[in-house]
């Protein structure tokens, strides 16, 4: 008996107690995620960045206020990150651009998440011929070249921020649907689904109450990896001049402007480029951490 008394003072005992209390998957993952310092600091930096970008509306100068006589100046006390060729404050432009870039990232990921999860779950759950047809549709959609697709959209509907969301989301959900379908296929024959069926639950209830929560782990991970992918896509579009319309700007558009003037005014490339790079790093670290934390099979630590 004395053995047990010893253990009860140690960390393991607390874990054991928590396990007995029935720590949910989420608490468990959260605990594992917290141990991953890279992922946590990545997430924290992202939150702070997002917060500053949002607050940037109220502090500082408007992103489109020009001072033509000032022109491009290096970072100074008045303009922390310098100004661009039309004398616009680069800090406010980076913040404004961050709002667009992050918004595009989150919104397009959300669109792809909603479509992808529903489509993939239905396809995997129903199975059979329906599954085959639905997956062939995805295959066909995969073949559409993204840039041409976006240019076509722009030609027909004109340039519009929401169109960019829609276009990116419409392309990104494909992979999501495949991942979800794979997960559903593997969960479909588990006992708890059998049990749910045996209890006579409706199909919808089985899908939304039992299926989706059990496949959500990989989905969240993939979503965090989609955000940087989408932000990069937006940057590509802006770089090609298909992105947001001036005077609005995004990190991609700022980088394009900076790249054009990088020899004369290096700060115009350095700051937006650095900000985008840091954000993408953070998102990737966070995604990596979440993958480790949510993967039940890897929970040996």
């Amino acid at each position: 008996m004395s053995d047990i008394a010893d253990i009860s003072n140690s960390q393991e005992a607390i874990d054991l107690a928590q396990a007995e209390k029935g720590a949910s998957l989420w608490q468990d993952s959260w605990r594992r995620l917290r141990k991953n310092h890279l992922a946590v600091s990545g997430g924290a930096i992202l939150l702070v960045t997002g917060f500053i970008c949002l607050l940037g509306i109220w502090v500082g100068q408007p992103h489109d206020a020009q001072n033509l006589d000032l022109g491009a100046t290096a970072p100074s006390a008045e303009h922390w990150l310098g100004t661009d060729m039309l004398g616009r404050d680069l800090l406010s432009r980076v913040l404004f651009g961050g709002r667009i870039s992050l918004m595009v990232g989150l919104a397009a990921t959300f669109v792809s998440l909603v479509i992808g999860v529903i489509y993939g779950t239905l396809s995997g759950y129903i199975g059979g011929k329906v599954d085959a047809v639905m997956m062939r549709i995805v295959d066909i959609l995969y073949t559409i070249p993204f840039i041409i697709f976006v240019i076509l959209l722009m030609v027909f509907f004109g340039r519009n921020l929401f169109l960019i969301f829609a276009a990116i989301g419409a392309v990104e959900w494909l992979t999501m649907a495949r991942i979800v379908r794979g997960q559903v296929l593997s969960v479909k024959n588990e006992e708890f689904i059998e049990a749910a069926r045996a209890l006579g639950l409706s199909q919808a209830r089985i899908i939304f109450r039992h299926m989706i929560p059990n496949v959500i782990g990989p989905v969240i991970v993939y979503a965090t990896l989609t955000v940087p992918a989408v932000m990069l896509l937006e940057a590509v579009l802006s770089f090609l001049g298909l992105g947001v319309q001036a005077p609005a700007t995004s990190w991609g558009a700022l980088i394009k402007e900076g790249a054009d003037a990088m020899e004369e005014y290096p700060w115009m490339l350095l700051f937006p480029g650095g900000t985008l790079a840091i954000s993408l790093f953070c998102l990737n670290f966070l995604g990596d951490g979440l993958r480790d934390a949510l993967d039940v099979r890897r929970s040996k630590d």
């Binding site: 206020a65 020009q66 033509l68 004398g87 001049g241 054009d260 004369e264």
Partner: protein
């Protein structure tokens, strides 16, 4: 993240970095590989940047500067021009007579050949003029030939028999041109590409004689009479021409060929120049201009250029159909600031249409920079403080410098008038198409003189000019421009131009912004390429010095 992952990440980073460095190295030409321009000097091939992909090389169907740069190599008109003074010198015409009253020109053609061996005849010219004046071809430049007797009537279908038009082949080598009135600069006027000849047999073999969709002007079917022949044409990359051995003056052509590179980004082009890929750039990116000027780089060529950078307004749409609105838009642009801070090559702000000192003409009328008055006009038109103003967009062809200027003006309108306009960029050919179809609100538009006379700017905005896409027309203005053409006294003529310009400045069918400078880089081994007002460089005088 585990340390193993971190190492992996670092390795990836290193690999990427290494790849990047390798790529840069490869791009810079592996150190000692001969640069294209050095090879070019050896082979006597001129490599030059030439803006965006040309919309074509058919002399009757183009309006752009980069198209003209190629046409000058492939085709020669009755006259050619001096590379320095731009004075007309004999081209296809060996000599000519002018009647006492200056209305009848008789050109005696030399024994010249087309690049397929056919001889160039007076009939070729007469038929080419007929083609340019055919309404069905939809040439924007038809009006250039309206001085011909019955030229305008033929274009409008009032005269159906081309024999009644003042362009007759008296025999194979004699061409008689009869004008409605005497034009002092006529020999310069016919240097323009709308007066160039086309090889009629090739045109007819590849579609209708006056059909816009004719496919003769392509690689393989194009036949020219210029110092060079079409050799290779890769869309969005390079169009190359090689020396034409059949050209009448082939002995004085010193180059073996020219490669025209079509690079839409000025930055890429400037980098290509520094990497030794091209001898001459088309333009210079705005951020680089002040640096080249400050360093007094001998490769920089910066000369006044007879052209007006402007925004043409679509006067048929609501809002812009109101003269007061157009005036307000024009009056609220601080042009001084734009040329000083945005363009920066020493351009002059433009307050009307004709560039200063154009053949002795200086505009008197000008639009003032007057924000309070602009606000008053806008309020009077029903949009006080920009309230309820329709959302317009500025259309420009994709180029960094156009974007910077448009952004500056966008902000001036926002601050001074409280109105929001959008920006829209299109690829060159699409842009030209939108502009001609009138599918725009406000369109960026550069008008470069076709010859050194105010008339080339004045007749741009006449009602029958195919280049006037504003839908604005004024009978009074048109008749003044015609009256000026008919006036023989030079001073009175310029006085009539002043009156006509007053109408333009008052009606504001377009917003002038600045007068161009031609600013580009030329390798110092390129000789015989002289700065001049039209930026024309007859290629037979150009050579490369080792």
């Amino acid at each position: 993240m585990k340390s193993r992952d971190l190492i992996k990440l670092l390795l990836y980073g290193l690999a990427m970095l290494g790849g990047g460095v390798f790529l840069l190295y490869a791009l810079s030409g592996f150190g000692n590989r001969p640069r294209l321009i050095d090879q070019g000097v050896k082979d006597k091939i001129l490599h030059m940047g030439n803006g965006s992909e040309p919309s074509g090389i058919d002399v009757h169907l183009t309006t752009g500067v980069q198209e003209h740069a190629i046409q000058m190599a492939l085709t020669e008109g009755l006259m050619s021009e001096d590379p320095i003074t731009l004075d007309p010198v004999p081209g296809m015409a060996e000599r000519w007579d002018i009647s006492e009253d200056g209305t009848v020109y008789t050109f005696y053609l030399r024994d010249a050949l087309w690049s397929n061996g056919d001889s160039v005849t007076a009939q070729d010219f007469a038929l080419s003029f007929k083609r340019a004046l055919s309404a069905s071809i939809g040439s924007e430049y038809s009006y250039m030939l309206f001085p011909l007797v019955n030229g305008e009537a033929y274009f409008k279908g009032e005269v159906e028999d081309f024999d009644q038009v003042g362009a007759k082949a008296l025999d194979d080598k004699t061409l008689q041109i009869t004008l409605e009135y005497s034009i002092p600069y006529f020999l310069s006027l016919i240097n323009h590409h709308s007066w160039y000849p086309v090889h009629i047999a090739s045109v007819e073999a590849n579609g209708g004689f006056a059909d816009r969709s004719n496919t003769w002007a392509r690689l393989g079917t194009f036949v020219g009479n210029g110092p060079f022949v079409l050799h290779e044409w890769n869309v969005n990359s390079v169009l190359s021409v090689r020396k034409n051995p059949l050209y009448w003056d082939a002995d004085s052509v010193k180059l073996n060929g020219i490669n025209f590179y079509h690079i839409e980004s000025l930055d890429t082009e400037e980098r290509a120049f520094r990497a030794g890929q091209i001898h001459k750039t088309y333009k210079l990116p705005l951020p680089k201009i002040p640096h080249y000027i400050a360093e007094k780089d001998p490769r920089l060529l910066n000369a006044p250029y007879l052209g007006t950078y402007q925004y043409a307004l679509n006067t048929s749409i609501k809002g812009l159909d109101d003269k007061r609105v157009r005036k307000a838009l024009s009056m609220s642009i601080d042009r001084d600031s734009i040329v000083r801070n945005v363009t920066g090559a020493g351009e002059f702000p433009s307050y009307s249409i004709v560039p200063p000192d154009c053949a002795g003409y200086n505009s008197r009328s000008k639009v003032e920079y007057d924000v309070p008055e602009a606000q008053r006009l806008l309020a009077e038109a029903g949009y006080p403080g920009g309230e309820g103003f329709p959302k317009f967009s500025i259309l420009y062809n994709t180029l960094e410098s156009h974007k910077s200027i448009a952004e500056a003006i966008q902000q001036m309108w926002k601050e001074n008038l409280g109105i929001e306009v959008g920006l829209e960029n299109q690829e060159w050919k699409v842009y030209l198409d939108s502009k001609v179809r009138g599918d725009f609100d406000i369109v960026r538009f550069g008008w470069i003189g076709d010859y050194v006379d105010p008339n080339t700017f004045m007749d741009l905005y006449t009602g029958n000019s195919g280049n006037n896409n504003t839908r604005w027309a004024s009978k009074e203005y048109d008749s003044l421009v015609v009256a000026a053409s008919k006036e023989n006294d030079p001073e009175k003529r310029l006085e009539i131009f002043q009156k006509a310009e007053e109408i333009l400045v008052d009606e504001v069918p377009f917003i002038p912004i600045y007068y161009y400078m031609s600013t580009y880089l030329v390798d110092q081994r390129v000789k015989g390429l002289y700065p001049n007002l039209l930026d024309h460089h007859p290629y037979k005088h150009v050579y490369l010095e080792e």
